[in-house]
Subunit: 241 residues, 2 copies
């Protein structure tokens, strides 16, 4: 098996606690697998934020069962009351866009989402006395979201250490983003080497009624391209497209 400490820079950290943000998607599930592989005791945090694609939540629960994770918090927070995103509003999800079009920030952007998610991760981490927080953001094969960039993560990490009792007491929070510089293809390759069952994950912004992916939204297109480039087959069912 690949030595992921070479990739992630993590040494074996058996039973050191980490909060891992888990949406149920491909990236966050790979991120969870990396944290577990590095020896962290995982506290998984899933945010039910009023997203239209709530199959994600079912996926998160299946992944928790699969990894036999004992500590899983699901926080309900209704970001849809603020509006402003196709993921929480009745705005139409864009389909079949090419990569140039994806480089603009799309209507699926949820205002300040990762800041809300990381702040909740920080709140739980501080209570747990965990100083490691994992988030599966990615700045390469992503959808142009500003809160996936390294400079944003770095600014949040600094804020976290100023915000908290833990931070002023000499402990240091680290926001881990093991996927941030990977292509989707690399993420999938590593995940598969770590034994991730991508059949459990849910990526699509606009799934069909049975939960199967649409195959046409930005998230599906990036995922399918990643599987293709990595030479693997996506186990999800894209038929009837």
């Amino acid at each position: 098996m690949t030595d992921f400490s070479m990739i992630t820079g993590y040494n074996s950290l058996m039973n050191k606690k980490a909060v891992v943000l888990l949406s149920g998607g491909l990236d966050s599930t790979t991120c969870l697998a990396i944290a577990k592989d590095a020896g962290f005791k995982v506290y998984a945090l899933t945010i039910n934020y009023g997203q239209r694609h709530d199959f994600e939540l079912n996926a998160a629960n299946q992944i928790i069962d699969h990894y036999n994770i004992k500590d899983h918090s699901i926080v309900d927070i209704d970001l849809s009351q603020f509006g402003g995103s196709a993921l929480t509003d009745d705005i139409e999800i864009p389909k079949d866009r090419n990569e140039n079009e994806m480089s603009d920030i799309p209507v699926t952007y949820v205002p300040a989402r990762n800041t809300v998610f990381l702040s909740l991760g920080l709140a739980w981490a501080e209570t747990l006395e965990a100083y490691d927080i994992f988030i599966g953001v990615n700045a390469l094969d992503y959808s142009g979201y500003p809160d996936c960039r390294p400079e944003y993560i770095s600014a949040f990490e600094k804020t976290a250490n100023l915000a908290t009792r833990a931070g002023v007491s000499g402990n240091t929070f680290r926001i881990h983003t093991p996927l941030i510089n990977m292509t989707k293809s690399e993420i999938i390759s590593i995940g598969l080497q770590l034994g991730v069952d991508y059949g459990l994950t849910s990526t699509c912004y606009d799934p069909r009624h049975n939960g199967d992916p649409c195959g046409h939204c930005d998230a599906c297109l990036l995922r399918l391209k990643g599987f293709e480039e990595s030479g693997n087959i996506d186990p999800l069912n894209y038929s009837d497209q």
Copy 2:
């Protein structure tokens, strides 16, 4: 009337939108009055986070009515599921502490609370295309919370501008903390000059069954000292102490 632009640095900004975090306490209500006085169109945001002193929420609603504010979001988010604070847990609220004791971060500290609150304020602000966010934090007569300090606010502001579509599109979010360097006495004096009815506000961490303040928790003691030093009478009922 005092020219508050001298104090706050704000010019008249009629109908410019601002999100104001409103807990229903003395500080946030004064902060709201300052934002209104500066001419902002106020969008008030109250977070129902599982605090034990939910009389705060009733106070926030009364203040909204009093100021005839049309836009008030109440976001429910259960921080008590993380535990770790006397404000959300069954941990006893400290009473009758002296100021030296208050300089330690107390059990009433809620992990990452202001980061969670500001991130929600940012989410709403971005949706509204409002770039001004007011929070009534105070770094002098406060309870030693790390997320009330200017360096924390500055770090969050930087994060906010990196986190958002608005920030990367050339707009700049500002986190306004007009009270941050004021004593409690100064806050009360300014609030009274702005016509704040402090009888509507709720400060106590551990109110009695009828909502009246206990008069012994850190928050009550700081408030009472502030009224005394400013030469004013707190309109709340502290009898039966």
